[in-house]
């Protein structure tokens, strides 16, 4: 009996501690960064394709500060923000760290140093600052741009008797082209994988500029999102309609986006895919399979009158400086080296990324790259990047339900509006 009492005490004791401390650890900062060494955290420097980029950036920095040592620590990407969060809270973080643009950076601006005074000279040369800015401050310098162009297979267009250089500009024409493509070549209209629920994000951003009016688009990015407006509803209707009309490959909800969806496009089994600009699932990957001359990029077809299609893109990745670093100017200099023209040119050439530097000549990589670079000046931030992680997760789940028909568009939008409120 006594032992049982002891055990229940041991089990209940935790309750006495009820609600003290915090699950995410105490918020603290300070420390870190020894003199003479700068520590950089990222998930890129270990890649073979990024080697020349890191070398170029190191050389650039060494020319300015020969006595300062730079140590790159490559972390696994799937654990990166967990590790970074822990490091930030323990105050033992690196001096310079890599970020994805958007929410991941904005959630951590407390731990970052505003860099606008150090980076003033680079403002003109580089694009994609928006994704690394918050509350009027710039927290990181963009290295690559990430966006969602619509790629199409020019060889299939030619085989189907369509003009490969003149893809459809309106949705009706696009549907007619798709019908012809499928009839003649047997290829599906879209390669789509929504197993992880990411397919809808690419669809929303890739086609959104052809549906929303410019005013609606800008309001959405600014945070004023009307989920039940007719045009937003139209995007989600298109998502369901394209599936019902058989425009997608089979088994969308069990097809993984990374690898499987892009493999369908690589194999020429689908005529279009909404892909990426940098890293993977992009012009360089597709060119390897289809030949650079067969990879085309088209603007979003116009669905509603008044829409002005634009390339959706944001700053992809960029380096920021920790707030606790000992010598902010020194760390900012390293950030400048990491986004210097020579370094970014190496990154663009070897890793197949659209670099943030607009002065790099991209015309040698085939027509797709040239078209993407041409569209950059009129491009706008991607629609899905403006959403919170929670809303994106819900949207992924609802998009699968829309495909299987277990939820209506109205119902899905009501849930999204509530989540985004």
């Amino acid at each position: 009996m006594k032992r049982r009492a002891l055990w229940s005490t041991a089990l209940i004791a935790p309750l006495a501690l009820y609600g003290c401390g915090s699950a995410a650890g105490p918020e603290s900062s300070g420390g870190g960064g020894e003199g003479g060494t700068l520590v950089v955290w990222d998930w890129k420097s270990g890649d073979e394709t990024a080697k020349s980029y890191i070398e170029a950036a190191k050389a650039d920095f060494a020319a300015k500060h020969p006595d300062v040592e730079v140590e790159f620590v490559a972390q696994p990407f799937d654990q990166y923000y967990n590790l970074l969060g822990t490091a930030i809270q323990s105050g033992e973080g690196p001096d310079v760290m890599l970020f994805n643009g958007g929410g991941q950076l904005r959630d951590r601006t407390d731990a970052l140093l505003p860099l606008e005074e150090f980076l003033a000279e680079d403002m003109e040369r580089l694009a994609g600052w928006e994704a690394f800015s918050a509350d009027g401050h710039v927290y990181a310098a963009p290295v690559t741009l990430q966006g969602h162009p619509i790629y199409y297979n020019k060889a299939l267009y030619a085989e189907a008797g369509l003009d490969p250089e003149a893809p459809a500009a309106t949705w009706e024409a696009f549907l007619a082209d798709c019908e012809q493509l499928t009839e003649v070549t047997g290829a599906d209209c879209f390669a789509l994988g929504n197993k992880e629920g990411i397919g809808i994000q690419f669809f929303l951003s890739g086609l959104g500029s052809g549906v929303l009016t410019p005013a609606e688009y800008d309001a959405w990015i600014a945070g004023d999102r009307d989920w039940v407006s007719p045009n937003v509803k139209r995007i989600f209707e298109l998502w369901a309609e394209t599936e019902q009309a058989g425009l997608n490959n089979d088994g969308v909800n069990s097809t993984a986006m990374f690898n499987d969806e892009f493999a369908i496009f690589d194999a020429g089994d689908a005529a279009h895919v909404i892909g990426l600009m940098s890293d993977v699932g992009h012009w360089k990957d597709f060119s390897e399979f289809l030949g650079a001359e067969n990879v085309g990029v088209m603007p979003a077809p116009v669905v509603t009158a008044g829409a002005e299609p634009s390339l959706p893109y944001d700053g992809g990745i960029g380096y920021g400086v920790a707030e606790w670093t000992e010598d902010p100017a020194l760390a900012a200099d390293l950030v400048r080296s990491l986004s210097s023209a020579t370094a970014l040119e190496a990154f663009y050439a070897d890793a197949g990324a659209i670099a943030a530097d607009t002065t790099i000549d991209a015309s040698s990589s085939g027509p797709a790259t040239a078209e993407i670079v041409d569209m950059l000046p009129t491009g706008k931030p991607a629609l899905h990047v403006a959403l919170s992680a929670e809303t994106l997760e819900l949207m992924g789940r609802l998009s699968q339900q829309l495909l299987s028909g277990s939820v209506t568009v109205d119902d899905a939008l009501a849930q999204l509006a509530e989540s985004d409120a």
């Binding site: 041991a10 935790p14 501690l17 609600g19 003290c20 088994g251 069990s254 992924g396 339900q401």
Partner: protein, 318 residues
């Protein structure tokens, strides 16, 4: 898999005096007896400390964190808010429903290795080959198994091609929310039944063959032999397999889920474990994850106590 714990009792004859060597020293009897009294505690201390520091303290911390907030409310006491949020979250509810589904599927998971072991025991042709072949998947990691079945069960994969040849329509094994969970559990059973099979075979080794021979001489059919001779003779083994299979299903499906479905489609293949990882690692809500862990701990406690009860009863029957 934890080894079957059968308490071994050494018979102690009452009345036999334990020989104790008394060492005379300068110290008084009081000091000696205190040392003797303290000795067991000192000896137990390392084990108790390890349990306390590495098991109970983290457990207490986790439970404690489940009453704090996430994000802006980091570190503040929020009462039962996390638990309220949990039980309003369709994902968490789906994961609890899936736990119920696993309990319902448990008999299948036990029946398969049981039947196959019976066939091997009854020496069906080729039983030696089957005995080793059945165990093969048990040595593969869930990630590899998941990757293999991702390919097999793909919409345009071999499984559907096979169905197509016999005129059945393609099935979206991992993309249909009504089927995906069964597909994953099926793969889990395929991957782990080898271990249960070995336990069953060990149980058969203790079975009295003369009983089966006698039943056969009396003209009993195979189903009757199974029902009236084999099952009663194996009751302890069956109980053990039931308990370990249940625990295996509840705690070691993360790898398969991660590789095969990622919780989808439509959130239909979430299990509490996967939900905890998702909230903590992907959504940055460690306090909510702590609350979900506490609920899972409660479920496992019930299952664990059930296990102890079953094993104790089995031990008594011996």
């Amino acid at each position: 898999m934890p080894p079957l714990a059968t308490p071994v009792r050494t018979p102690v004859r009452p009345g036999t005096p334990t020989p104790r060597r008394r060492v005379r020293s300068g110290r008084g009897a009081a000091g000696r007896s205190r040392a003797e009294r303290l000795a067991p505690y000192v000896l137990v201390a390392p084990a108790a400390l390890i349990i306390g520091v590495f098991r109970l303290y983290p457990l207490a911390l986790g439970v404690n964190f489940s009453f704090t907030g996430d994000g802006d409310r980091n570190g503040q006491a929020v009462g039962l808010d996390n638990y309220a949020a949990l039980f309003e979250d369709p994902l968490f509810l789906a994961s609890m429903r899936n736990v119920g589904l696993l309990v319902l599927l448990l008999p299948v998971a036990v029946l398969i290795p049981g039947l196959l072991a019976t066939f091997i025991y009854l020496r069906v042709p080729g039983h030696r080959v089957y005995r080793s072949v059945y165990f093969f998947p048990a040595v593969l990691s869930p990630v590899i198994i998941g990757a293999i079945f991702n390919l097999l069960l793909a919409f345009d994969g071999p499984a559907n091609a096979l169905l197509g040849t016999v005129g059945l329509g393609p099935v979206d094994w991992l993309g249909d929310p009504d089927i995906a969970m069964f597909a994953v559990v099926g793969v889990h059973i395929w991957a782990t039944f080898g271990m249960a099979l070995v336990v069953f075979l060990a149980g058969f080794a203790t079975l009295d063959a003369s009983l089966i021979d006698a039943a056969r001489v009396d003209g009993a059919s195979l189903p009757r032999v199974v029902r009236h001779v084999i099952v009663p003779g194996l009751s302890r083994t069956i109980q053990f397999v039931v308990v370990t299979t249940m625990i295996g299903m509840l705690t070691s499906m993360f790898g398969l889920l991660y590789v095969m479905t990622g919780g989808g489609p439509e959130g239909s293949t979430y299990l509490p474990e996967y939900y905890i990882w998702f909230q903590q690692g992907q959504m940055g809500r460690p306090a909510l994850a702590s609350a979900a862990s506490t609920v899972l701990f409660g479920v496992m406690l019930v299952v664990g106590l059930g296990q102890i009860a079953v094993l104790r009863r089995a031990g008594r029957e011996d």
